[in-house]
Structure formats: structure tokens, C-alpha cells
Amino acid sequence: MLGSSTIGSSFYTDDMTYLVPTPGMPDASPETSLFLINDDRFRMENRVKRLKKRTAHSEYPHSITVHMTTNLRVAEHTADGTQVNGAFHVSRFKDGIMDIFLGRVRYCLVKDGEAVRIRHKRCDLGMDALVPQGRLTIIL
């Protein structure tokens, strides 16, 4: 809700959103349903800032992650940008336990000069409960 941009990645536009719905709710809107993540740029930057601290206990010692994005297809060009759909598979290894997060990803991409930036990213998990993962503290 706040628009500052003191830190963070230039992968994203200033008006970015990053959404992860509650598992099992593929068509839900964050305006009417409870989500796991509903970040604007301010909260996303603070998510990153938090993860870098030793006191972000759920991610310390830092977990080992591998991100795979596949089956990407350009779906359509809209006034917002280019809609790209695909699938993701993210593994998180910490304290001897491997957790897997997988599902469908929808991007809205825009061109900014020579760069391509993410305006919206939405990850719908292919599960209906965080069992056994228990938490989502990495960024998908």
C-alpha cells in the first residue's frame, strides 16, 4: 500500500503485485478471499529485507532452494502487459527436510526500455493444504 522503492529487484515494476492464493482457490481474488501472500512492492521489498536477516528465524540458517519454471506460453497481450502462463517447481531444503512447492504461475510482463519487468506474478499452488510444508517463507 506504500509506494517507496528503497531496495528490491529491478525485475519488478513499481506497481507490481505478487500473489499466492490460499491453496485450493485458483480463481480467488485477494480483495474478497484470504491469501497466503498479497504483496505490493512495499511489502515485497520488506519480505526480501526480512529474509536477509539472521532474525528471520523461519529462514535461518538459510534454506537451499531450487526454482524451475517451465511450460511457459504467451497467452495474450493486454493493456496491462503480456500475459505469460506456465508451471513452477520450487524445492526448499532446510534442517534435513525437503519441501516442494509446485503449481501454476501467471505473469504479466512489461517492456521498460530494453528490459522486461514483472508487473504481476501469481502462483497457484497445486495442492489444497500446506501439508507437510507448514509455511511459505521463501519467494516462489
Partner: protein, 455 residues
């Protein structure tokens, strides 16, 4: 010498030495878990669901509570039922959907059909049975032994001879009222129930909700984020000419200390944390935004008039003192044995149950006033995740803390390890409670827990 509260020995108290301890075996030993299932979960009132989850006749959902699969259904006459989700014929799972609307449920195993009130409607081979067989009362789906509700919160009890829900909730009712009375027409569960597994015993989660001392170390990053939010919000408000004076005064260190002192004094003098039957609650003056109803400088100024108006209406409805408590304080309510309601950045309702000593399934929901505007609902759902939920900036660090503790407990069996919950039992500094709080509310839970296990 230790005064053993009871056997099997999970809790011990030595008042003279100011010592209160809980055996680490209660988190790892299958024997304790079985005793808990039998003596607590089969005896106590357990939160099941909210009235708003069954909006009309025929609405149903399936839910697992205390390890039992149930159907939560509203029949055609509007009456609510909790039915074992188990065919009376050969035990098939009668309803396999998460939720929906239906006038009947047909078991997919052999085709028996039941009504939304549980009554048996049809047997495909009815000619094979005596006349009137289908209409016998015990052929229908089995109802949970007891089902009662308090202001929209439905609870079940597996013990038919249990005291009434109202008596059981005892002093917790007035704290539930402070949640329910945030609406003039009733509260509603917002879509998006979140279930997740935590690799720790259920009692650690409940205990964590009462633990005053973990907050600053476990949630350090949340408080730093919160300070950044306030700073950025005030800069933004200043730049756009919006006054934050009312909030600044309300959340000033002096006012907060007074509020905190008053809340703690109330706790101390009226023992409001011990609400009877093992329940406890505490209120705490809030420094962040509350969707009902405290504007925060980090929130867009366009929300302010509506939140101020909600507050004024609340004052008119319940008076200034209670309005302040409802809208400007955070509320933590813990209902024995496994229900937590936390009202801070939004309202979180959470239950937890262990099938194995070292893990639990957590079910959580959020609830909001039915009449809330679309704008404030959107703000509420954004605000919730500042702290709450499996990807919030607070909850996952609690999970990490209790999971880390759980991992160590197995080893503690080697040397008969005990957790220490003594703070405040015999304080050398009589003002310590006011300055720091203490672990008294955790002892409320453990004392009741031991009492149930000993009966």
C-alpha cells in the same frame, strides 16, 4: 520437595521454591497423546465451525475434528447438524466434497442415500429388507453426541453427558462477545480457510499463544517491519497533507504504557487471564492499524473517514469504554483445549490437533463483519498478512520456534528433561509482572491439562 500435581506426572509444582515444570515427555510420548485423546478431546467442547459457513438450507462442508471425519450441514428446515461422514451400511465415506449445496448425500460404495438432516432416504435394494427397515432411527447418519453454538461459533462434544457449552466457555464468553460485536448483524467467515502441518505437538502451539516472553525475540523482524511501515506511512501522510495527530496521540509511548499498565492490572487484579475451565484471554493496546476500527498512517487516507465512522457508530452502540477495548486493543483468546482466536491485523481463528505426538494439523480461518464495505474488506485481507498466516511476517517464526523445540525433546527423554514455566510464581520483584508480564497464563493451561489427565 516437589509437590506432584498428579500422576501420570506431566506437570510438577514446588510453590516454596517458585518452580513450575512440564515434562518434555508430554510432547513425545505416545502414552500421553492417547490419554489426551481419551480424557481431553473426548470430554471437552471442541470448536467445529462457524454458522456463516452454512449460508442457506442445503449448505454443507466436510471437516475433520479430533481425528473424526464429519459433515457439517444445514438441512432444508435450516437446522444445523454435525454428522459422522460414514455410511451406516458398510462404512463408506458418504460425502467426498469439501463444500457445496445438496439436498441428499449418496454413498458411492453401495448407493445408500441420506438427507441433509442425516435421515436415510433410499436403499437401492430396499426389497431385501423387512418393511419399515429404512425408517428406523438408527439407520440414518450418526450425529455427533453434542452440538451447541455460542453466538455463531459451533462446538461439538463427544461426551453426551458434558456440561453445556455456555457453562464450559465460562468467562471466555465476554471476550468472544468483543469479537462478535464488531458487527451489528453478524460475523462471516471469509473464503480461504488455511490448513497446514506443523512438525510439533499441538500443545506447543497453544502454549505459544499465551507466552509473553517469546514476542520480542521470535518476532524481532516483525517489529522492525512495523517501525518501517509507520515511518513510511507518516512520511506519505505528511507529503499529502493528512494529519496523523489523532493516531500519534493514541499510539504515543505514554498512552500505550498507560493502556498496557491498565490491561495488565486488570489481568492481575481480576485474573481475567484465568477465565475458568482452562481458558484464558488478554487484551493489549494496539499500535498498528485495525480493520475494526483504527486507522494507521500507513493506510491510505481515503480509509480514515470510514474507519472513524465505524468507531463512532460502535461508541453509540456499546459505549466509549467498551468501544475503545473492542476497536483499539488486540485480543488473544485461548479456549481449552485447542482453539485460538487472535484479533490483531485481522481476526484469525485456529485449531490444532495431533495424530502423532510430534506433528499437528492446523486449521485456520479469518472472520469479518458481514456488513463491512468492499474497500475495508480488501484492506483487512491485505493487513492480515502483515503478521498472520503461513506466509505472514510473524506466524512462520512461531512455527520455527516450536518445531525446533520439538526436535530436541526426543533427546530429553534420555535425561528426564523438563520445561520451565516458573516466571511469576514467586517473584522477588513484586513489580515484575507489570514490567514484563509472566508465565502465569501458561500455568492456567497446564494446570487444567493435568487435571483432565488425572481424572
Amino acid at each position: 520437595m516437589d509437590q506432584h500435581i498428579a500422576t501420570p506426572l506431566g506437570v510438577r509444582l514446588d510453590q516454596a521454591s517458585g518452580l513450575f515444570q512440564v515434562s518434555r515427555r508430554v510432547f513425545t510420548d505416545q502414552t500421553f497423546l492417547e490419554l489426551e485423546h481419551q480424557k481431553i478431546f473426548e470430554k471437552c467442547w471442541l470448536y467445529f465451525g462457524h454458522d456463516s459457513e452454512l449460508p442457506e438450507p442445503g449448505s454443507f462442508l466436510t471437516r475433520t475434528v479430533a481425528g473424526r471425519d464429519f459433515i457439517f450441514s444445514r438441512d432444508s428446515a435450516g437446522q444445523v447438524h454435525v454428522l459422522y461422514n460414514l455410511c451406516t451400511h458398510r462404512g463408506g465415506r458418504v460425502c467426498r466434497e469439501k463444500s457445496g449445496k445438496a439436498s441428499v448425500f449418496q454413498c458411492f460404495y453401495h448407493g445408500w442415500v441420506f438427507g441433509s438432516d442425516g435421515g436415510l432416504r433410499l436403499i437401492p435394494q430396499e426389497g431385501a429388507y423387512p418393511a419399515g427397515y429404512r425408517n428406523e432411527r438408527d439407520r440414518g447418519l450418526v450425529s455427533v453426541p453434542r452440538l451447541e453454538n455460542y453466538r455463531g461459533f459451533w462446538f461439538i462434544n463427544l461426551d453426551a453427558s458434558a456440561m453445556s457449552l455456555s457453562d464450559y466457555l465460562a468467562g471466555a464468553k465476554e471476550y468472544l462477545d468483543d469479537i462478535v460485536d464488531q458487527s451489528e448483524i453478524g460475523m462471516t467467515i471469509v473464503p480461504g480457510g488455511q490448513n497446514f502441518q506443523v512438525d510439533a505437538n499441538w500443545k506447543l502451539w497453544h502454549e505459544n499463544g499465551m507466552d509473553p516472553f517469546h514476542v520480542h525475540s521470535v518476532h524481532a523482524t516483525y517489529f522492525e517491519y512495523s517501525a518501517d511501515v509507520l515511518k513510511a506511512g507518516k512520511e506519505k501522510a505528511q507529503a499529502s497533507g493528512v494529519s496523523t495527530e489523532a493516531f500519534d496521540t493514541k499510539a504515543s509511548a505514554e498512552v500505550m504504557m498507560k493502556g498496557r499498565y491498565a490491561a495488565l492490572m486488570q489481568t492481575k487484579t481480576k485474573l481475567s487471564f484465568d477465565l475458568g475451565n482452562g481458558h484464558m484471554a488478554y487484551n493489549y493496546p494496539s499500535t498498528h492499524g485495525r480493520p475494526f476500527a483504527q486507522w494507521h498512517p500507513s493506510w491510505d487516507a481515503r480509509y480514515k473517514p470510514e474507519l472513524d465512522q465505524l468507531y463512532e457508530k460502535l461508541v453509540a452502540r456499546v459505549g466509549p469504554e467498551r468501544a475503545r477495548r473492542i476497536a483499539h486493543f488486540d485480543h488473544h483468546i485461548l479456549i481449552f483445549p485447542n482453539l485460538a482466536i487472535v484479533d490483531n491485523h485481522g481476526i484469525m481463528i485456529r485449531t490444532y490437533f495431533s495424530k502423532k505426538p510430534e506433528e499437528m494439523l492446523v486449521q485456520s480461518w479469518t472472520i469479518a463483519p458481514k456488513e463491512e464495505s468492499a474497500e475495508i474488506r480488501k484492506l483487512r485481507l491485505y493487513s492480515y498478512m502483515d503478521f498472520l498466516g503461513p506466509a505472514g511476517f510473524g506466524t512462520p517464526d512461531d512455527v520455527e520456534a516450536i518445531e525446533a523445540a520439538q526436535r530436541g525433546y526426543k533427546g530429553a527423554e534420555d535425561y528426564d528433561g523438563w520445561n520451565d514455566i516458573s516466571a511469576g510464581l514467586a517473584p522477588k520483584d513484586p513489580e515484575s509482572f507489570i514490567r514484563n508480564g509472566d508465565e502465569g497464563r501458561m500455568r492456567v493451561f497446564w494446570t487444567k491439562w493435568q487435571e483432565y489427565l488425572s481424572n
